[in-house]
């Protein structure tokens, strides 16, 4: 502590290079420890990620390409078998359909809540409810919809009383359609949270400028508003797609595991519900990771564009 003055005067130079912070009053060993501590924690985190996130993923990829006699592509090409192709197809359809629902619903609700005439209480209710609903998913959400639109759900029965039998009309909560309806419960709020800052970023001046040039509201949106929002909307769409594509809890609880989705198929292989090589599970997982990698790659390109209009 007696060295405080000296330490203070040397502090700027200490931080100039990559050299270490000085633990006041300590000698060579203390300084060494002080220098090592930051790197210890950074390395610790990276090792943890490597051991429990990267390594398991790589193992899956390796396993996918390893058969009884070394390298093989048969497991990966096996994903083209009808059973797995349908699962991927369903998962992608579900992802697209529910992302689209979320996009439309989230955009219009966000747009409405940001209208100058929208009362403040409405805005804060929407914001806080969106935060809750975006995080309300999985098993409880599934049961909430079973209570509502399940084959014995209250709305289903009420509609039947007034002569509308939705199940006879082909609707089923336990189908892709039903799941899209259920997923909208977290997808719409998710989109709302993502898109609100982008809509807020639309400047009043742009609107005024286009009106000054004689544009109608429709022309403003078609030529100015939507093109500016497109990268944000697309980015949000991809995030929503990812969350639906990799969803497991909600579809499992809704259908008790009886639906052809990739996530459900993987869990069936893992729990031994179906007789198949463990490599099949690994191949399915690798396939999912591939799809998600493509999604994230597009997302990172898109988000570069959406950042351009911010700030």
């Amino acid at each position: 502590m007696s060295q405080t003055g000296q330490t203070a005067s040397s502090a700027p130079t200490t931080f100039g290079g990559a050299s270490a912070p000085r633990s006041a009053g300590s000698g060579g060993f203390g300084a060494l420890v002080g220098r090592a501590i930051p790197w210890f924690f950074v390395v610790l985190f990276l090792v943890f990620v490597l051991a429990f996130l990267i390594a398991p993923t790589l193992v899956l990829v390796v396993k996918t390409f390893t058969g009884d006699h070394g390298f093989t592509l048969s497991y990966l090409t096996g994903l083209w078998d009808y059973q797995y192709r349908i699962a991927f197809q369903n998962s992608i359809i579900l992802g697209l359909a529910s992302a689209f629902t979320g996009l439309i619903g989230g955009f219009f609700i966000a747009y409405t809540s940001l209208q100058p005439g929208a009362p403040a209480w409405l805005r804060s209710i929407i914001t806080s409810f969106a935060a809750v609903a975006a995080n309300f998913a999985g098993v409880p959400l599934a049961f909430a919809f079973i209570s509502t639109l399940g084959s014995l759900g209250f709305v289903t029965i009420m509609l039947k009383h007034i002569g509308v039998d939705i199940y006879a009309m082909g609707f089923s909560l336990y189908s892709l359609t039903g799941m899209t309806v259920t997923f909208a419960y977290f997808q719409i709020p998710l989109m709302l949270i993502i898109i609100t800052p982008a809509i807020q970023g639309l400047r009043l001046q742009w609107r005024e400028a286009s009106e000054g040039l004689g544009a109608t509201s429709w022309q403003y949106w078609r030529l100015v508003g939507l093109p500016i929002l497109t990268p944000s909307l697309l980015g949000g769409f991809l995030l929503l797609f990812g969350s639906a594509f990799s969803a497991y809890a909600t579809p499992y609880a809704l259908t008790d595991g009886n639906i052809a989705l990739v996530t459900i198929d993987i869990s069936n292989v893992l729990s031994g519900n179906v007789m198949s090589d463990p490599q099949v599970g690994a191949a399915l997982s690798t396939g999912m990771i591939l799809v998600m990698t493509v999604v994230l790659a597009i997302y990172s390109i898109v988000s570069r564009y959406s950042a351009r209009w911010r700030r």
Partner: protein, 287 residues
């Protein structure tokens, strides 16, 4: 933000618009009332989001026929699995929070301080749990780690995947906190007064990161308490697994539990909104 920039750029416009001070930035236009179309959107949204909650509520009070009462709630509270599974989930959430504080918080602080070049790597890692779906991660973990049994045979094992599940949200919340805080200056000030790393982190940085940390804690709690995938595949009886098992034979109890889970989420997110206001880094939990 845009309002200040615009106002600075156009002083006349600022003066002209000074009269009623339009504080909340309008999306566009100058209409002051909501149109019929807006109200239709609100009504539809309210119906879609409220009806399932109301129906779940009614369903949870249903006792068969025309009788309604609290029997589902009484049954729920007296089922031993309710408390044990809820406590297990809360315990796992707390352990995940501790692990995040031990691993993520110091690493992020030091990256901000010492190695800003590593920031893109951390950003990339924080996105990985999004690319690797939960079910694929659990597939990989069970393939790679078949032992030791002290690690994989107790529910505590779940803390590892939970850490990654919560990583994107915890990372974002902390990143916002660290970016707005002048970590460099604070640390230099601390060091010039003779503080070591421990003192700097515990007395200087963590108190200043309070908001971000509380946000991260609540997001981890929400994510972990609702988590189903990892626990169900690894056969541990957490709260979400308990709700699912209940739904197999007692659907009204499951409705009561679902409503309870909604209220729990609501409470936790209310906490996030109240503490974080600005950095509501709330993007989706475990679906």
């Amino acid at each position: 933000m845009s309002a200040t920039i615009a106002a600075a750029a156009e002083p006349e416009a600022k003066l002209a618009a000074n009269a009623p001070a339009p504080r909340p930035r309008p999306a566009h236009g100058a209409r002051t009332r909501l149109s019929a179309f807006n109200w239709v959107v609100i009504a539809l949204a309210a119906a879609y989001f409220l009806v399932p909650l109301i129906m779940t509520g009614i369903f949870s009070f249903w006792e068969g026929g025309n009788r309604y009462g609290f029997s589902a709630y009484i049954a729920m509270l007296s089922t031993p699995g309710f408390w044990t599974s809820l406590f297990l989930s809360v315990r796992l959430a707390i352990e995940t929070i501790i692990l995040s504080f031990a691993l993520l918080v110091p690493a992020m602080i030091f990256v901000h301080l010492k190695a800003p070049k590593l920031k893109p790597l951390f950003e990339f890692i924080s996105n990985l749990p999004f690319v690797i779906p939960a079910i694929a991660l659990i597939d990989g973990l069970t393939t790679l780690y078949t032992g030791p049994s002290w690690l994989i045979s107790t529910p505590n094992y779940l803390v590892i995947p939970y850490f990654f599940l919560a990583l994107p949200y915890a990372y974002r919340s902390l990143e916002v906190g660290l970016t707005t805080l002048d970590v460099q200056t604070l640390t230099e000030a601390g060091q010039s007064l003779g503080a070591g790393w421990g003192e700097i982190i515990f007395y200087l940085l963590l108190p200043n990161l309070r908001t971000a940390l509380i946000g991260a804690v609540l997001l981890i709690l929400t994510t972990v308490i609702g988590e189903f995938t990892f626990a169900s595949v690894l056969l541990f009886h957490t709260f979400a697994v308990f709700i699912n098992d209940t739904g197999q034979n007692a659907i009204t109890e499951a409705a009561a539990l679902s409503l309870f889970a909604f209220l729990l989420t609501w409470l936790l997110m209310l906490g996030v909104l109240l503490t974080g206001r600005k950095n509501a880094a709330t993007v989706g939990g475990a679906h």
